[in-house]
Amino acid sequence: MTETASKPGQTEVWITGIGLATSLGEGLDANWAALQEKRVNVDEKGFAPCIVHPLMPVSFDSQIPKKGDQRQMEAWQRIGTYAAGLALDSAGIKGNKDILSKIDMVVAAGGGERDLNVDSGVLTAEAKGANAPGFLNERLMSDLRPTLFLAQLSNLLAGNIAIVHGLGGTSRTFMGEEVAGADAARIALSRIASGESDIALVGGSHNGERKDLLVLYEFGDFNLKDKFAPVWARKDHTGFALGSAGAFLVLESRAHAEARGAKPFAKLSSVVADLARRKQPGDMAATLEKLWAKLPTHAGKGAIISGATGAEPATSEERGFLKSHADFPVRATGTMFGHTMETQFPLGIALAALSISRGALFPPNDTTGTEIEMQGAPTQIVVVGAGHWRGEGMALVEAVN
C-alpha cells in the first residue's frame, strides 16, 4: 500500500487555492449555491440514450485570453486550463512570477478527443467499399487537423496550463482513470510534506460530452441510460453519467503559505491509494478498509465525500464499506456532478476543503437514506475514490488548527 501522511516533523500541507468549473457552474460560490439547492444539471437528450452532466458554459476568455491558445485545445483542455486559472486566482498567485516559476504541477488526465467526422467518414467509406491498402493512411493524412494531436495528448493539459498561466516549475501527468486523481494528490502531498517542494498545482479535467468516450464505457455497459437517478438509487438501473468538470487545487506548505499571508481552506493531511485485485466479492471493500485504517482520523465531527460512480459491483461494495462507518455522513459527488473520471478525486478534495472552510457539509441529495443530514461543522472529511473498474484512493482533509 502506498501512502502519504504527515508524520511528526513533516511539513503541514494546506489547500490554499481551489478552482472549479463544473456542470453546476464556475467558481466556489456558484457550485456551493447549487449544492445547497440540490440542483443537478443533466442532459438526457443530446447523447440519448446516455445521460451526461454538461459543462455550465463559461467565458473561456477570462482565463485563456488568447483565442489562438483556445483554438489549440479541445474542450477537456480548455476546461482544465480554465479551472487551473481559477485555482491560481483563488490562491492569490495568478501572475506571481516568483511563485509560478517554481510551482510543481501534477495533473491527472485522460486524453484524446477524437474528430468524430474523420472517424465516421473513414468507416462510412469503408462500408461503401473503399478497400485500397493505403485508404486509411490517405484519409488520415488529408483529413486530420495537424494540431489535433496536441489537443489529444494527455500531457498537453499540463502543457497548456503552463503556457497560458506561465508555470515554469515541474510538470507530471498521471493517467489511469479515477485513481490517477488520487495518485496526483498523493505524490504532490508527499513531495511537499517531505520538503522536496513548497507549492503545487494539482487537479484534472474531463469533458463528459463525448460520444467517443461513451462508446468506450459502453463496451463495459457502464453508461447510465434513459433516466437520471442519484448514485445510490441506481442499484437496479446501474451506471454512471459522464460529467464535464475541471477541478484544481493549490497545495502549499504551511510555512510557504504563512510567509506570503495566504489563508487555508483546509489542510490535506493524508492521501493513500491501492489497487485491489477485485477478483472476489469483498476484495474492493477490504482494500477500502485497509486504506481507511491508514488515515489518521480522530474523534470529532467527520464526513465522507465519495466518488462512487453508480457502476456495479463497485458501488454496492463501497456502500457496504460506508455502512461500517455510519458515524460519518456521506455525500456522493457523482449525483450532482456526474462521473468526471480522473477529475472526481480532486473534485472531492475541493468540496471537502470548501465544506470545512464554510463550516458545513452540503446537504444530502439521495432517495435511499444512504446520505443523511449533518448538524454542525465538519472538522475532518474523508474523500473516497473507488474506480468504476480499478483503483482505490482515499484522502483526509481537515480543518486547520
Binding site: 494531436f149 510538470s171 463496451f219 455497459d221
Partner: protein
C-alpha cells in the same frame, strides 16, 4: 565502501536490475552488442500498408507478437518481458512479489483503428456515425475493449503480474516519460517510503494514426531509403526523428537495502531534474533557459559540477530544431567543456522510442558505464558545422566514463535529465 547516504543526507539510489527491448532485439546482451557495432534497427514498415505515407520506416519491434494486435497490447507485452529480465538480474523479492511500487511510463491509450473498424462493420450500415457505434457497443460483446483501453490497464497488469505494492502510477510526460518514471522511483526511495521501486517505460505505438500525427507536425524524417540512414542526429542533413518501439525496466533500490541483501550494484542514479518550458506546445523557448535550468538542476541534485560529467547521452532526436537547441543549451551549461565531452545519440540506431526513450537511454548509459565504451552515433557523415559536440561518430569509442548525463525533452515543454554514475559519489 561508501556511505549509504548522499551528501544531502538522502538515501543513495542504485540500480540492481535492468531489462531492455528495442528494434535491435531483446535483452541487454543483444542490444549492447548491436549498439556498439553501430547497427540500425530502423526498417521499412511491414506491419500495416505504407501507401500514401510520407514516412514509411520506423524502429518497430516485430519479433514480439500479440493477438489481437493493438499498440497498447504490444506495449504491455514488451513491458512484461523487460520487467522479467530486470527482476531476474536483480533477484529481488519473490516471484509475483516485488517489494515496492511501480512507476510506468506509457503512451496515452485509446481505441485503435482495428477495433474501430470492427465496430464499424458491426454497425452494419453504409453510413456509419458514432451513434451507430454507441448502439452496438454494449451487451458485453466488446467488453474486452473496455478493459484493454483503460489508461491504467498496462500498469494494472504489471502490478498484478509482478506483485508491486500500492497504487501503480501510469504517467506521461511525452518524450521525457521514461526519465520521469525513474525520477518518481528515486524520489520515493529518497523520501524513505520504500526501499525498492520498479520503473518501467514502454512504447509500442507505431500504428498508422500515430505515424500520421507526427508526420502532420513535420516531425518525422522522410529519408525513407535506405531506412537505416534516416536517423542522423547532429548531421547537417538531418530532417526529423524516426518513430520507434521499445521498453526498458529498472529495479531501483536504496544502496543500504541493496548491499544488505548482497545485490550486485549496476550503477547509481546520482541526480534527476526536470523543468517545464511554458513557451510553446512543441517548440523550446528560443533562449533555451528551461533546458539549461533542467540540466543545472540535475547537476545540483547530484551535487556535481559540469567537469565531473564525462559523457552525455543526448536526447539527439535528429530533428533540425532539437539537436541545435540541445547543443546551444549544453554549451551554456558546460561552457568550453562542451567540445571535450563525448556525446552520442542512441536514437541514431534505435530511433525515438518516445515514452520509453528516457528509460531505454538510461539503461544504455548504465551499460556504457559498465563496459567503459560509448556506443556510436551512426549516419554521422556530414557533421552540422554549427554543432561542435565531440560526437562519437559512426564507431564506438573506449573511454573512461564515471558519470553520464542523459537528457530527454518532449512536447508540452517537458524537460528531464538524469545523471548516472558507476558508484556513489
Amino acid at each position: 565502501m561508501t556511505a549509504p547516504r548522499d551528501k544531502f543526507g538522502r538515501p543513495v539510489v542504485v540500480v540492481t536490475g535492468m531489462g531492455i527491448m528495442t528494434s535491435l532485439g531483446a535483452g541487454k546482451a543483444d542490444n549492447w552488442a548491436k549498439l556498439v557495432a553501430g547497427e540500425s534497427g530502423i526498417r521499412t514498415i511491414t506491419r500495416f500498408p505504407i501507401d500514401g505515407l510520407k514516412t514509411t520506416m520506423a524502429g518497430t519491434v516485430d519479433f514480439v507478437s500479440v493477438d489481437p494486435f493493438s499498440s497498447t497490447a504490444l506495449s504491455e507485452r514488451m513491458a512484461d518481458l523487460v520487467t522479467q529480465e530486470a527482476l531476474e538480474q536483480a533477484g529481488i523479492g519473490a516471484k509475483g512479489d516485488f517489494p515496492g511500487p511501480l512507476f510506468l511510463a506509457v503512451a496515452p491509450v485509446e481505441v485503435e483503428w482495428p477495433q474501430r473498424r470492427e465496430l464499424g462493420r458491426a454497425a452494419g450500415k453504409l453510413d456509419v456515425n458514432y451513434d451507430d457505434l454507441l448502439r452496438i457497443s454494449g451487451g458485453g460483446k466488446f467488453a474486452a475493449y473496455h478493459h484493454r483501453f483503460m489508461f491504467g490497464s498496462v500498469a494494472a497488469y504489471l502490478a498484478e503480474t509482478f506483485g508491486t505494492k500500492g497504487s501503480p502510477i501510469s504517467l506521461s510526460t511525452a518524450c521525457a516519460s521514461g526519465a520521469t518514471s525513474i525520477q518518481l522511483g528515486v524520489e520515493a526511495i529518497r523520501r524513505g517510503e520504500t526501499d525498492a521501486a520498479l520503473c518501467v517505460a514502454t512504447d509500442g505505438t507505431v500504428n498508422p494514426e500515430a505515424l500520421v500525427r507526427f508526420s502532420l507536425l513535420s516531425a518525422l524524417s522522410t529519408q525513407n531509403d535506405p531506412p537505416q540512414a534516416a536517423s542522423r542526429p547532429f548531421s547537417k542533413n538531418r530532417d526529423g526523428f524516426v518513430m520507434a518501439e521499445g521498453a526498458g525496466a529498472l529495479v531501483l533500490e536504496s544502496y543500504e537495502a541493496a548491499t544488505a541483501r548482497g545485490a550486485k550494484i549496476l550503477g547509481v542514479i546520482a541526480g534527476c531534474g526536470e523543468l517545464t518550458d511554458s513557451f510553446h506546445r512543441t517548440r523550446s523557448s528560443p533562449d533555451g533557459k528551461p533546458i539549461i535550468g533542467c540540466m543545472k538542476k540535475t547537476l545540483a541534485d547530484a551535487g556535481m559540477e559540469p567537469d565531473q560529467i564525462d559523457h552525455i547521452n543526448a536526447h539527439g532526436t535528429s530533428t533540425p530544431e532539437n539537436d541545435k537547441m540541445e547543443y546551444n543549451t549544453t554549451s551554456a551549461v558546460f561552457g568550453e567543456l562542451v567540445q571535450k565531452i563525448p556525446v552520442t545519440s542512441n536514437k541514431s540506431m534505435v530511433g525515438h522510442t518516445i515514452s520509453a526513450a528516457g528509460a531505454v537511454e538510461a539503461i544504455f548509459s548504465l551499460l556504457t558505464l559498465e563496459h567503459q565504451r560509448i556506443p556510436p552515433t551512426i549516419n554521422y557523415d556530414i557533421p552540422d558545422p554549427t554543432i561542435l559536440f565531440d560526437v562519437v561518430g559512426n564507431k564506438a569509442r573506449d573511454a573512461r566514463v564515471s558519470a553520464v548525463m542523459s537528457n530527454s525533452f518532449g512536447f508540452g515543454g517537458q524537460n528531464a535529465s538524469l545523471i548516472l554514475t558507476r558508484e556513489p559519489a
